[in-house]
């Protein structure tokens, strides 16, 4: 069986630093996959490699059985993998609509007719709750709106896989609930979602499968509640429990 997305022994070195070491991941269609791990674990680097912003040092990435790890980012986007950025990076002086139109004009499905593109872009913006902001410059949006714009722009490329890099960080509790609904709807429309997230409650609730990275190594993978109780994961996040107990006893 060919997976929708498959990373095979992906390794990335930045000089002497090993950011990712021998990562293998298989993704099937219609999943929501969470990638968690402490800061510097290599989560965003993994996204950069899948989306083609960085080439892997070793290893291969396959999308529907086709090797994509040598292709430029623009081509990977046209094949159907879209991403958002952790630090929002909209095209600041362009309007919200124009930002979305870029995705629509160069994504997987790009309607040749300008009017159709605008209508489609407006649909996506309305879906993301940005319909009234279509003619505002992207830089005038609030952080929450910019996060939604990132998603709108990515969805505009009609992706099959959507890579969400911490879209929920910086949002308030009520906004998180709304964003979770949005992500569920995106997934329901037939898009496979891979998300990096620090808000563990969201991961527990949304994701079908969780992958845990620590210092560039995949230390656990499985259902959210399995992973949460995995001693290696607890150790990575909180530190060695037994050591801690011993220290308290000695004291």
């Amino acid at each position: 069986m060919t997976y929708l997305l498959e990373c095979e022994g992906v390794t990335k070195n930045f000089g002497g630093l090993v950011a990712l070491k021998d990562i293998s991941i298989q993704v099937t269609k219609d999943e929501i996959i969470g990638i968690i791990g402490p800061n510097g674990a290599g989560k965003t680097t993994l996204f950069n490699i899948i989306a083609g912003a960085l080439p892997p040092s070793y290893g291969k990435v396959f999308f529907k059985g086709q090797r994509i790890s040598e292709k430029p980012a623009s081509e990977i986007c046209r094949l159907g993998i879209a991403r958002t950025y952790q630090m929002v990076r909209p095209f600041n002086s362009l309007t919200t609509l124009e930002n979305t139109l870029i995705g629509l004009s160069f994504g997987r499905i790009n309607p040749p007719d300008y009017k159709k593109r605008v209508i489609e872009a407006m649909n996506i913006l309305t879906f993301m709750g940005l319909g009234t902001k279509a003619n505002n410059a992207a830089e005038t949006l609030t952080l929450v709106e910019k996060k939604y714009l990132e998603m709108a722009r990515a969805m505009a490329t009609s992706p099959e896989i959507l890579l969400l890099d911490e879209v929920l960080s910086g949002l308030g509790p009520a906004e998180i609930v709304r964003a979770m609904d949005t992500i569920r709807e995106i997934q329901a429309s037939g898009v496979t979602v891979i998300m990096i997230e620090h808000v563990l409650s969201v991961i527990m609730e949304l994701c079908h499968r969780v992958i845990v990275l620590n210092y560039g190594v995949k230390i656990a993978e499985g259902k959210p509640n399995e992973v949460a109780n995995d001693p290696r994961v607890v150790e990575a996040y909180i530190g060695n429990v037994e050591m801690g107990e011993q220290e308290t006893l000695n004291a």
Partner: protein, 325 residues
């Protein structure tokens, strides 16, 4: 202010065109020459702005294309080619040259790109001065003499008009949107499917065509071109100055800038011949200080520009903090 509308702008444009078309009847050749040069500078500034304004790469070597167009037209005219064929071949040559140099140059960004392109014109000037048997060396090259003022005048207007239309439609096309996205953030543009490198190359080729064309028309009319006239500092910087003065990234910007600059230069030349360059320099400094986004982006004109449907929704230059001092 209700008369400020798109359709009224078209009326004004048509009126201007009618006046310009009828001008050769009453006007002196001095006036024709002035309009001719304005049209040449306008074409250069507008075509520069495709790369400088839309794409956001400051191409200081844009006049390379002007010079190449001029030199190749001159050489072809001297080999008994007809004007149309000479211009056509000159454009092909210029565009091919742009395509070739775009490959190394677009591996650079920002100041490095600007410096490298600036180096290109110096290189071309050295070539033009030293390839004696092809270019006539530092003495320049003459073309068959004759009175071409009126046809050259119309040709330059057509070239300028064509460039205005090109720039206008480029600004609203899918290609133009891609160029803007590259200007804003090249890496993000790439990750949203914009093939950045081919598009950058293509934009340079497109911008080289009008420049090469007016170079050819210029040399045909003036019947002489020398290395400093083709690749010198003045012709190199004028398109940049004009585009920035009028307002980069908007079709109207270089249009306003070109008319303004040539008018000022001419007036200063007539009124204060001795100090005209001094006053011109001071004026440019003042304009740069007080209108950093160009004439169109001043507080009074920007709303009008937007009302006419030109320009971004937000002031591109405000973002960079140059307007807020």
């Amino acid at each position: 202010m209700s008369w400020i509308q798109r359709k009224n702008l078209y009326l004004v444009a048509i009126l201007c065109l009618c006046v310009l078309a009828a001008l050769p009847l009453p006007a002196s050749s001095y006036a024709l020459m002035w309009v001719f040069l304005t049209a040449v500078y306008l074409t250069l500034a507008l075509s520069y702005d495709i790369v400088g304004g839309f794409l956001g790469y400051m191409n200081l070597g844009h006049s390379t294309f002007f010079g190449l167009g001029a030199y190749s037209t001159a050489i072809l005219l001297n080999h008994d080619f007809g004007l149309a064929l000479a211009l056509f071949l000159a454009i092909i040559f210029t565009a091919a040259f742009a395509a070739i140099v775009s490959y190394p140059f677009f591996r650079l960004r920002g100041a490095y790109f600007a410096l490298a392109t600036f180096g290109l014109i110096s290189l071309m000037e050295v070539f033009a001065s030293n390839l004696q048997h092809v270019t006539g060396g530092s003495g320049g090259i003459s073309t068959p003499p004759g009175d071409y003022m009126v046809p050259a005048y119309y040709l330059s207007l057509i070239a300028a008009g064509g460039t205005v239309i090109l720039s206008h439609f480029l600004g609203r096309s899918r290609f133009g949107l891609a160029l803007l996205s590259i200007r804003e953030d090249e890496e993000v543009a790439r990750s949203f499917g914009v093939p950045t490198f081919p598009y950058k190359s293509l934009s340079l080729v497109i911008s080289s065509v009008p420049a090469g064309l007016v170079g050819g028309i210029y040399v045909w009319n003036v019947t002489y071109i020398s290395p400093p006239a083709a690749f010198g500092l003045e012709i190199a910087l004028s398109p940049v100055v004009i585009a920035m003065l009028g307002g980069t990234g908007i079709t109207l910007g270089p249009l306003v800038g070109a008319v303004f600059i040539t008018l000022i230069q001419e007036l200063l030349w007539i009124k204060v011949a001795h100090f005209h360059l001094t006053i011109y320099g001071v004026l440019l400094v003042l304009l740069g200080l007080f209108m950093p986004g160009g004439i169109l982006r001043t507080r009074w004109l920007w709303p009008v520009v937007q009302r006419l449907g030109f320009g971004e929704k937000i002031d591109y230059f405000k973002k960079q903090g140059t307007l807020e001092r």
